[in-house]
Amino acid sequence: MGRSEFAFSDIFVGIGAIILGIVASWGLYWLLNFLVTRLPAKWQEKLRAFSFVLPAAVLLILISVLPLIQTVAWSFFDKHAKEFVGFENYTTIFTDPNFLGILLNNFLWVAFVPAITVGFGLVFANLSNNVGPKREKVMKSLIFMPMSISFVAAATIWGYAYDYPPPGRPQTGLVNAIIELFGGQAQPLLTLEGGHLNSFLLMIVVIWLNAGFSMVMLSAAIKAVPEETIEAARIDGAGPFKIFLRVIVPQVRGTIMAVFITTVIGVMKVFDVILAMTGGNFNTSVLGYEYYRMFFVESNVGGSAAVVTVLCVLIAPLMWLQIRTARHQEEIR
């Protein structure tokens, strides 16, 4: 392992870059505006917007759009991205049982994580709504806190909770200690025998990280539910559970959908947790990780491009959903 170097000059590089960046970007926009004002009035009208949009558009085209096209194109080339091979990369991955297992894992993630995350979010939001403002603040902070943690740090936190010391030693991992407490047999977690169940152990980590986000969004929506509708149900003799399910949930359906879609998108791309916790071993790999392995371990450009393309195709319907949601919002305004 090489030592990482840090010269204090790097701080100056950073500070210098910030100042230079601000001056340069301000200068850039000033220049664009200046150029537009030199144009004849008719052209000015047409090009005015572009002096504000151009830098963003250029950056997005260079760093997102063109690379995406390149990636899709590479998926039809061999591992060195030199020779055209048609659909070979795709036939290779789709006939590989490992890859089909990876697709199954992705499917399991999408099937479980978003629904459970939204479920926890609803429970947290609703409970914290009933406990009074002071307690609400403290408890919400504690549940929301994992949101600020990196996936890698979360992996160390949960790796320790899943720890399994060799037989005969006391259980220092939280999960196994709880299993023993309830009379179960402590066992190594995240092993080969676990099969696809291992994915669920990783899903717990992501649910733990994301439930706070879901709670915050849903809590804002629940607070906007008109008090009269709840009061009316209460007068009709509805209990808290009935009020929650019949009155509150239907009124925050829009937010539930938004959180659900956001979580699905995040889960489709899940990568860091798998890298940090299992390195894709023990049947836990997903598309985001398989791409990484294909390129950084196997140096297979064509193959990794095909994996990403599959991921993009699977995500594409969600793009359409996002656009529809954005349009819908527009109409509300």
Binding site: S4, G21, F50, S128, S148, A161, M257, F271, G288, Q322
Partner: protein, 288 residues
């Protein structure tokens, strides 16, 4: 009336208790890691961390593992992460604010289509662009001698590009709530669109910009993939360092635990200090 009040009180007590249990479950893993980082190595191997809470006075507490993690280069990587995170937060916000302004206040041809594409880009996985961008940067170095890969600048650019769609979306949603009459009044007074942006719209958008800045800062701080691919181990960031530490926890969990906590300090400070704005940033783009 009395029974109604007691019912409400019961509901409140029940909610509090349920929530307390859930909060305890949510916090236990983090608490366990912190306590383990502070415990003596032999003791930590001999008993679970929860026994240390039950009996805190018969424990040997030490900062050794924190020293070890710092000796392993955690502080250096902390500075590296900072130098990446700050510009990678400011740069996209400046660019996004300009674009959001045009999308909100200026009519132009293709605005709808461009905005729809932007929303679609929000969903695009980062992985779809990594290798082409990496190769392009290597090519830049070979052809023009511009060295981006292995330097902070490459991470700034990639982070900026991938933050743009969401940043523009959220800032535009905020700008749409600004009164249009104000902008029109400024127009009548003879202000140019350029002046209106820098002198009127940008200062008024500070709440939204600040909340997105926190969001973006945490995102960059916690990122692994971009830092790994474009900056690498020469200027290793926190997540990179932590992952290496995790890969070699032969000397027990202590060092990893301590390292994790050093990595957590800045995000946690940012989070607890600016939580309100963070939440506002998240809910700004939300559907009601």
């Amino acid at each position: 009336m009395n029974t109604f009040l007691s019912k409400v009180r019961n509901a409140r007590l029940g909610s509090t208790l349920t929530l307390l249990v859930l909060v305890a479950i949510w916090s236990a893993p983090t608490l366990g890691l912190l306590i383990t980082a502070l415990r003596d190595r032999d003791q930590a191997a001999a008993s679970g961390w929860w026994t240390a809470i039950a009996d805190p006075f018969n424990q040997i507490w030490s900062m050794d593992s924190f020293n070890k993690a710092i000796d392993g280069g955690m502080l250096t990587s902390l500075l590296n992460t900072l130098v990446i995170s700050v510009p990678a937060t400011i740069l996209p916000l400046v660019i996004a604010a300009n674009a959001a302004y045009a999308f909100t206040f200026i009519e132009f041809k293709g605005r709808e289509v461009m905005f729809a594409s932007l929303v679609a880009l929000m969903v695009l996985p980062l992985q779809s662009a990594l290798i082409p961008v990496l190769k392009a940067m290597v090519w830049l170095k070979k052809t023009f001698g511009i060295e981006l890969v292995g330097n902070y600048a490459s991470a700034w650019i990639v982070h900026a590009a991938f933050a743009l769609p969401l940043a523009i979306y959220i800032l535009r949603n905020f700008m749409m709530t600004l009164p249009n009459s104000l902008i029109e009044a400024a127009r009548i007074d003879g202000a140019s669109y350029y002046q209106i942006f820098w002198k009127l719209v940008l200062p008024m958008s500070i709440p939204s910009i600040a909340s997105f800045a926190i969001f973006q800062f945490l995102w960059v701080w916690n990122d692994y993939l971009i830092a790994f691919v474009f900056v690498g181990e020469q200027k290793a960031v926190m997540t990179y360092k932590l992952l290496r530490l995790l890969g070699q926890y032969g000397d027990g969990w202590q060092t990893v635990a301590a390292g994790s906590f050093i990595a957590l300090i800045v995000p946690l400070i940012v989070f607890f200090a600016l939580q309100r704005y963070f939440v506002r940033g998240l809910t700004a783009g939300a559907v009601k």
